[in-house]
């Protein structure tokens, strides 16, 4: 279908964009890459009065290494996340996940910030952002504020960004030295929405796992932390028995609902299969680490 008619304003600065949004009094929606809002308009799921185009604001662009970590501008495209040398060096799990996000042409235009602000529970980046402890830099008329990843994703398609605020950048703090990280997912075909996906970070200490962070997507209303599975790994060697224990703990962490595409029980089973694959993949790396 064709979108309903709407107005368009090209933002020239962040303060001007914020003021324009406030003046329009609930009529406006932000537009950047447009890869969530434009299909929603075409399907007539949304009918805003005005789109405020923030795609050309320089403050939202670019990737830079700072003293606090890797700062990624919100309008960075998925293709840049996939291939940028700084992301590959300092947040490789993001680049690893980006290859699973949609298809090449989508990745050329869709933005990292837009993906996180949408908070689609089936999307990869929110789970990775939580696993890496990302910090969200949000600006509004009252100034800028920082929100930790643990407090950013609130519910289905719901984040801590208030109406009228803009997600400006995302900070990926330095990861612990020697941390082992892996993202993987199970999808029917490459680029399709995943049946389940997971971001895992293990901190090794000698041959043991000091602590683990495990986040799943597509198994709940937002990226889901698997605390019982993490506890099953902590302080243990990464052995087949430990991996099995982590898998067996998952029903305490996840309770995916039945939906049109899969029964919840199938999704839970697949989460266990995926966790087993990811942890098994990391076994040789933790062994190297101990040696």
């Amino acid at each position: 279908m064709k979108p309903p008619a709407f107005g368009y304003r090209l933002a020239e600065s962040i303060p001007q964009a914020l003021e324009t949004y406030a003046e329009l009094d609930g009529e406006a929606v932000w537009l950047a890459g447009g890869h969530s809002i434009v299909p929603a308009l075409a399907l007539r799921l949304q009918a805003p009065g005005v789109l405020i185009d923030i795609s050309r604001l320089p403050e939202l662009a670019g990737i830079a290494l700072t003293g606090d970590g890797l700062r990624i501008g919100a309008t960075t495209t998925h293709a840049e996340i996939l291939s940028h040398p700084l992301v590959r060096a300092h947040a490789p799990m993001l680049a690893e996940a980006a290859q699973f996000v949609a298809h090449p042409a989508i990745r050329n235009r869709a933005t990292f910030g837009g993906n996180l602000a949408l908070a689609d529970p089936a999307s990869e980046f929110p789970a990775v952002a939580r696993c890496l402890g990302a910090v969200f830099d949000i600006v509004g008329l009252e100034g800028a504020r920082e929100v930790a990843a643990e407090d950013f994703f609130l519910d289905l398609f719901t984040t801590a960004i208030a109406p009228g605020e803009i997600l400006r950048s995302i900070l990926i703090p330095p990861q612990p030295a020697g941390a082992l990280m892996r993202f993987d997912e199970l999808a029917r075909r490459h680029g399709d929405f995943a049946m389940v996906g997971a971001a895992v970070r293990l901190n090794p200490d000698g041959g043991l796992i000091a602590d683990a962070r495990i986040y799943f997507h597509s198994v709940g209303p937002m990226p889901m932390r698997a605390r019982a599975a993490e506890a099953a790994l902590a302080g243990r060697p990464l052995s087949p028995a430990t991996i099995q224990a982590a898998r067996q703990a998952l029903p305490q962490d996840l309770d995916p609902a039945d939906d049109a595409s899969l029964p919840g029980a199938t999704r839970l089973h697949l989460a266990g299969v995926l966790l087993g694959r990811i942890l098994t993949h990391l076994v040789p790396r933790i062994t190297e680490n101990a040696a």
Partner: protein, 164 residues
């Protein structure tokens, strides 16, 4: 509300007064009569509307024309007339890699970009690159064949050129 947008399409500067809701695909088709860009799902799934925006394939149905202001756009007409994909088009023809042809312009965009970035893709890489292009006629096998054959022929041509 109408806005004037200017951009360069297939090497020509164009300016049109449009509604902000007009997508780039509709702009190219309805205003510029470049009907080689096809509109399928209009929600970024089928890949029939792919065009080159500043040198990279994007979905014409997901980019508002007003957002392409100042950009350089290349459609299948421009790419075809440039001769840059003549061998790819011939390979599709030879291998019967199209039937109704509706998906073919989008396939050309994806294949052209893939071969620029990765001159010798294997069949898995070709399939992965094509994962966002739907063909409902041919079953993809012939399309993968045609792209692989083009990659092989270009590699052979480069090798022959290098030997001279």
């Amino acid at each position: 509300m109408k806005v004037t947008v200017e951009m360069v399409v297939n090497g020509e500067e164009v300016a049109e007064l449009i509604e902000p809701r007009m997508t780039l695909a509709d702009f190219l088709r309805d205003r510029l009569r470049l009907t080689g860009t096809h509109v399928g799902c209009e929600m970024g799934v089928c890949g029939a509307c792919l065009v080159m925006l500043d040198g990279k394939p994007v979905h014409g149905c997901l980019v508002l024309a007003v957002q392409a202001a100042g950009a350089t756009v290349q459609t299948i007409e421009g790419l075809s007339e440039s001769g840059a994909i003549a061998d790819l088009q011939a390979a599709f023809h030879d291998r019967n890699a199209l039937q109704c042809g509706y998906c073919t312009p989008g396939m050309m965009m994806t294949a052209h970009r893939l071969l620029q970035e990765q001159p010798r893709p294997d069949r898995t890489e070709i399939r992965t690159a094509l994962s966002g292009n739907y063909c409902r006629c041919t079953g993809y096998e012939a399309i993968v064949d045609a792209i692989a054959a083009t990659a092989d022929a270009r590699a052979a041509s480069r090798a022959a050129g290098g030997a001279e």
